[in-house]
């Protein structure tokens, strides 16, 4: 809402406060003032001038040589505007004048002839093109005859004004009107308010003899009033009115339209003027539209209506979409002489729906959507009649043709001052509360500390005690509220075990050299199904799709964090950042049906993507690209760090992963994720070199955590280590061999580790050698050689039987 200070001064005395101070006070009391700025930059030395003569410039066809009387002198001014004529009163920037944008006016010679100033267009005075009336849009502005030559043109144009831009919250629609703002400012400043007096000189002819009103849908249109004003002369509205409209951001059109807009701004009540003679009947019928019914609106667009839309009809066809826009056929034009003026109360949801469906949100529809004051509907109509009488030569017929089923009951709120103080933590005296309520102009009955407040209908946002708490608090001032801390026994707060786990994982991965990343949860349709972990894939999920996505790049919910994480790698590599290790913790959304029927399950996942060099120490010639085992090592460390035991990495297959470099990760046979190199084809799609990824199900990981930590005595007896190397077929997975060794090694075998893998020269084709180092330990006694030898023999025999493994060397 744009509020002209000059206009506001009509209702309330603001002489002792600057616009900036006022803005600050309004903001602190509840309505944020976004800006308080002069309507145009400081302009000086622009006066009203009278064009005494206007002749062609001797040396230029398109220029005119004008003699202009500016009161104290006569200036010779060269003007290029096509509409300049002798006899006009115009705005003249005299030499030394300063115009918006810092332009300075000086005497100058134009094509050999001296020019002593400039005749101005409204645009040159800083008014936005879109507010300038059509007749002046391509030339200079011409005053009506009621201005004095030599007086300050800026003042006459009302450009010495400051505009407050109010950022209104949805509950404060009462301030979508100048009168509403005046009430608010009066309450804040504790001042009196002066409202317009509506007095009309009715002609002796009843409106009801010329029009009837019938409302078929009273719940959507509880009030409809039709006024008739005849003998209208359509023409420009007075300059002050035009200026106020411009200040509020509305373009002046003609006196009839301008008056309805003016009252809309003043009362917050939208009105509509029909051309009575072209209305099509003498009956206003309000009903819902029929399916596929058509109307040509006054923006010359044919619109197709539905049963959701409320329409004003002449009994036959629609003449307006209620509260949204009128029809072209009955629009007021230059020939209009009789106006049917509509003042109505339309249901907010209905207007909202229609405005949305037709993409016609206007000053009018916004006010209906937020709800207008039921007590001011008719009054606003009368105010418009008064102005039409004053400024359009109209004669107002007596009475109004109306349908009235409007509820104008005022809300009553009762409370005690103690109640208010208890909620606020204050000690405001009952007297002071009464004073605040009086400033708000709510009627108040008080008995000691008992209050009974009747809230005027303009404040439709107030109906319960809590609303009154707010009203009292904001006028009392939040600055005056004390600082306290909650009373009662202090509670201990702490993270849950799962929240702690998440933090631990962050710590570990960051300590291991990975950078945490955040990608968008919404991705493309294609990416939403990419790189899905086997245990998720198994559930045959269907990616969840937004009903109305804003773009294809964010249309579907992800089933894996990896596709977007890979896009982050791609982004960095395009910027020459080649060595990357990123991870993300985030949820995926698992839906099982083609259409979403219930809230889908979410699952927390931990994913990472690494590419480039893992280690780079150039001057010592140490360089190691990231590989499968780097990533596997990070994960093994992670499982150890968070205490998940018995994790197995099994060769497996995942779509989008290199089939020979892919491990499915399991705990106790349950798949919790995977690890692998990106498939070369996918790498190419993302413009990536060798890239390794992992993806883990954090919810499942949490289930497998060994929550109890146990103490094991430090061994007091010496251990014995043994190395064994076996030759096996190259397909035999090392972990199978290792498991067999563990199983056969007896209870003293504490640890088995691979320390060498060999394949190639001196080795039979299709065979490999794997060497293990074994550590034996008896916690109770010193081990004997016999015990170790026995275990060793057992191992050799077992792996020979199971894998045809030959002991090497």
């Amino acid at each position: 809402m744009l509020v002209s200070i000059n206009w506001l001064k009509q209702y309330i005395d603001l002489d002792d406060i600057t616009p900036e101070e006022l803005a600050e006070k309004i903001t602190k009391s509840g309505i944020e003032v976004d800006s308080a700025e002069p309507i145009v930059d400081q302009i000086k030395n622009v006066v009203v001038g009278y064009v005494k003569s206007c002749e062609k410039h001797p040396n230029a066809d398109k220029l005119n040589l004008c003699q202009v009387d500016v009161g104290d002198e006569e200036l010779q001014i060269i003007c290029g505007a096509p509409n300049v004529q002798a006899g006009q009163k115009v705005a003249v920037a005299k030499p030394g004048a300063r115009l918006p944008g810092g332009m300075k006016i000086k005497k100058a010679k134009l094509r050999g002839v001296e020019s002593q100033g400039m005749i101005c267009s409204l645009q040159e005075l800083g008014i936005d093109d879109k507010f300038v009336q059509k007749e002046f849009s391509d030339g200079i502005f011409v005053f009506a005859d009621d201005v004095e030559v030599g007086e300050d043109a800026i003042e006459r144009l009302n450009l010495n004004d400051t505009i407050l831009e109010l950022e209104l919250t949805p509950n404060r629609s009462d301030c979508l009107s100048m009168i509403g703002v005046a009430y608010e400012v009066a309450a804040i400043l504790g001042k009196d308010i002066k409202l317009p007096e509506v007095a009309i000189d009715y002609v002796d002819d009843a409106a009801t003899d010329h029009v009837q009103v019938r409302v078929e849908t009273p719940e959507l249109n509880p009030y409809y009033g039709a006024f008739i004003i005849r003998n209208i002369q359509v023409g420009p509205s007075p300059l002050w009115m035009q200026n106020r409209l411009i200040a509020a951001g509305i373009r002046p059109i003609n006196n009839v339209v301008d008056i309805t807009n003016y009252v809309l701004l003043e009362y917050g009540q939208p009105l509509h003027a029909f051309d009575y003679d072209r209305f099509g009947s003498k009956e206003v019928v309000v009903r819902t539209a029929e399916k596929d019914e058509k109307i040509q609106t006054l923006d010359d667009v044919e619109r197709t209506l539905s049963e959701d839309h409320l329409v004003i009809t002449n009994g036959k066809e629609p003449v307006a979409i209620a509260g949204v826009m009128g029809g072209a056929d009955s629009e007021v034009n230059d020939e209009t002489t009789t106006v049917l003026l509509e003042a109505a109360y339309f249901d907010s949801l209905s207007v909202r729906k229609a405005a949305k469906d037709h993409q016609l949100r206007s000053e009018a529809s916004i006010r209906f959507e937020k709800g207008v004051d039921p007590n001011r509907v008719k009054e606003a109509g009368l105010r418009a009649c008064q102005l039409l009488e004053q400024y359009a030569g109209g004669e107002v017929l007596s009475g109004v043709a109306e349908f009235n089923g409007l509820d104008v009951t005022e809300e009553v709120v009762t409370f005690t001052s103690d109640q208010i103080n208890r909620v606020l933590g204050t000690e405001i005296k009952a007297d002071e509360m009464e004073d605040i309520i009086t400033k708000l102009r709510f009627s108040c009955e008080r008995d000691g500390n008992q209050f009974k407040v009747t809230v005027p209908t303009r404040r439709g946002d107030i109906s319960i005690v809590e609303d009154m708490v707010e009203e009292i608090a904001r006028i009392f001032g939040y600055d005056n509220l004390p600082y306290t801390l909650p009373e009662g026994a202090g509670q201990a707060g702490r993270l849950t075990e799962k929240q702690q786990l998440k933090r631990k994982i962050h710590q570990y991965l960051q300590g291991s050299g990975l950078n945490e990343s955040w990608t968008y949860s919404l991705t493309t349709e294609e990416r939403s199904g990419l790189l899905v972990s086997p245990e998720v894939r198994e559930q045959e999920p269907v990616p969840v799709q937004l009903a109305m996505p804003m773009s294809e790049s964010h249309s579907h919910l992800r089933l894996s964090l990896l596709p977007e994480l890979l896009a982050s790698l791609q982004y960095n590599i395009a910027r020459k950042q080649n060595d990357l290790a990123l991870y993300e913790m985030g949820s995926i959304c698992i839906n099982h049906d083609k259409t979403v029927t219930k809230q889908p399950a979410e699952q927390l996942r931990l994913s990472g993507a690494l590419t480039g060099l893992w280690m780079n120490h150039p001057w010592q010639q140490e360089k190691k690209p990231v590989d499968f085992y780097v990533v596997k090592g990070i994960l093994e460390g992670l499982f150890e760090f968070v205490q998940i035991n018995g994790v197995q990495f099994e060769a497996g297959e995942v779509d989008g992963i290199h089939p020979g470099r892919c491990a499915v990760i399991k705990v106790k046979g349950d798949t919790i994720g995977f690890l692998g190199q990106l498939h070369p084809a996918l790498q190419e799609e993302y413009d990536l070199k060798d890239t390794y990824v992992f993806d883990l199900n954090l919810d499942k990981m949490y289930e497998y955590i060994e929550k109890e930590e146990r103490y094991q005595p430090i061994p007091r007896y010496p251990s014995i280590s043994q190395d064994l190397a076996f030759v096996v077929d190259e397909q035999v997975p090392s972990s199978n061999l290792l498991q067999a060794i563990k199983d056969a090694g007896g209870s003293y075998l504490q640890k088995v580790e691979v320390f060498d893998v060999y394949q190639g020269e001196h080795m039979e084709e299709g065979k490999k050698s794997i060497a293990y180092s074994l550590l034996f330990q008896n916690p109770e006694a010193t081990l004997t050689d016999e015990e170790v030898d026995q275990a060793r023999e057992e191992i050799i025999q077992t792996v020979k039987e199971k894998f045809n493994a030959q002991l090497r060397g």
Binding site: P482, Y483, T484, E516, Y520, L522, A547
Partner: protein, 344 residues
């Protein structure tokens, strides 16, 4: 014989002096003090001497032996010291060359800030509550006093999946869900961090995905001054002890009264500058007293219980705190951005 011994002593001491390494010193030891050495030789010829001279010569011979042995020992110590020094010299490296790089990763700035805020409120007795990002219309709106068709739903235009299911537009549904679980019994004292989604076109200041942290305290006799006190404590700990707060009335459907909290501008200290748009204050969060309808719908009796709630945007706080100029930085993962916030 006496002369011979003195001569040997001088000769030996000279050789010790000249020895350049342990080996040469060993040679001196062997050749002079060994069993076949010249001193032993001299002593062997002592039988030819008169009896009264024998002890004198014997004494002298021992002196000579000892002085040579001592000289060798001293020299050896000296040579060993030199050898060690030599070794240390040879082993010297350029300590200014760079070390073998250790991989260092770090948190995302949002995680870091959210954890910081979580910890601040945990310190004030709050717990951290989480909930789904794909929500029902009921928890996202209706339970929060935003019935269907409420104009305030426009304030947060949403990504719907079906008519009843949508991407949550704030983390408030977690508050509603948590309250419900308490079955009408307080206190409830939680903060809810998480991702939220709104129909915004991504640009420098808008993002269709962002984060929120909301807080809720429901108990008997909660006062608005408690809200002011808690927020003041938070603001001072988070932004600095010298910062002031102010509350401005505002509107949220789920609180009544509703306020917005500003903190004093750090840059201009309240004088007004471009960062605070000349006001001296910077908007940080929205808050208010929980609306009785919200309490009622979550199973709490508003005549017995009341409470306060607040909500803030970590992106906005991060942008203010670090002067970050583009919200998209948080979701693009440019490592040159990520690596700036590694400090623990």
């Amino acid at each position: 014989m006496k002369e011979r011994l003195e001569e040997l002593r001088n000769e030996a001491l000279e050789k010790v002096e000249k020895a350049e390494n342990i080996k040469e010193l060993q040679d001196v030891r062997v050749s002079y003090l060994g069993k076949k050495g010249p001193i032993t030789e001299v002593l062997r010829g002592m039988g030819k001497l008169p009896a009264e001279e024998r002890p004198v010569i014997g004494q002298l011979a021992n002196d000579v032996r000892e002085s040579i042995a001592r000289a060798i020992e001293d020299k050896q110590t000296e040579l060993e010291k030199e050898a060690l020094e030599q070794r240390l010299r040879e082993e010297t490296i350029d300590v200014t060359l760079p070390g073998r790089p250790n991989q260092v990763g770090g948190p995302h700035l949002l995680t870091k800030l959210i954890q910081e805020i979580e910890d601040l409120f945990i310190g004030m007795g709050f717990e951290v509550a989480e909930g789904p990002e794909v929500e029902t219309d009921y928890y996202n709106f209706e339970a929060l006093n935003l019935p269907k068709g409420h104009p305030a739903r426009d304030m947060q235009d949403s990504f719907y999946i079906t008519e009843e299911i949508l991407m949550r537009t704030h983390t408030s549904p977690v508050q509603a869900r948590t309250m419900e679980k308490h079955e009408g019994k307080g206190p409830v004292k939680i903060i809810c961090p998480g991702k939220v989604y709104r129909r915004d076109t991504d640009d420098a200041t808008h993002s269709h995905q962002f984060t929120q942290i909301e807080g809720l305290f429901v108990d008997k006799n909660v006062r608005m001054s408690d809200l002011k006190g808690v927020l003041n404590t938070f603001a001072k700990k988070m932004f600095g002890e010298d910062r002031e707060i102010r509350l401005r009335p505002s509107f949220f459907p789920f609180t009544e009264p509703s306020v917005e909290m500003d903190i004093s501008c750090k840059i201009c200290r309240g004088e007004g500058c471009s960062v605070c748009k000349g006001t001296g204050w910077i908007e940080i969060l929205g808050a208010g007293m929980v609306h009785p309808n919200v309490l009622r719908m979550a199973g709490f009796d508003p005549d017995v219980y009341n409470g306060f709630a607040f909500g803030m945007g970590p992106e906005r706080i991060a942008m203010l705190k670090y002067g970050i100029d583009d919200i998209r930085h948080f979701y693009i993962n440019d490592v040159r951005f990520l690596k700036q916030f590694h400090q623990a």
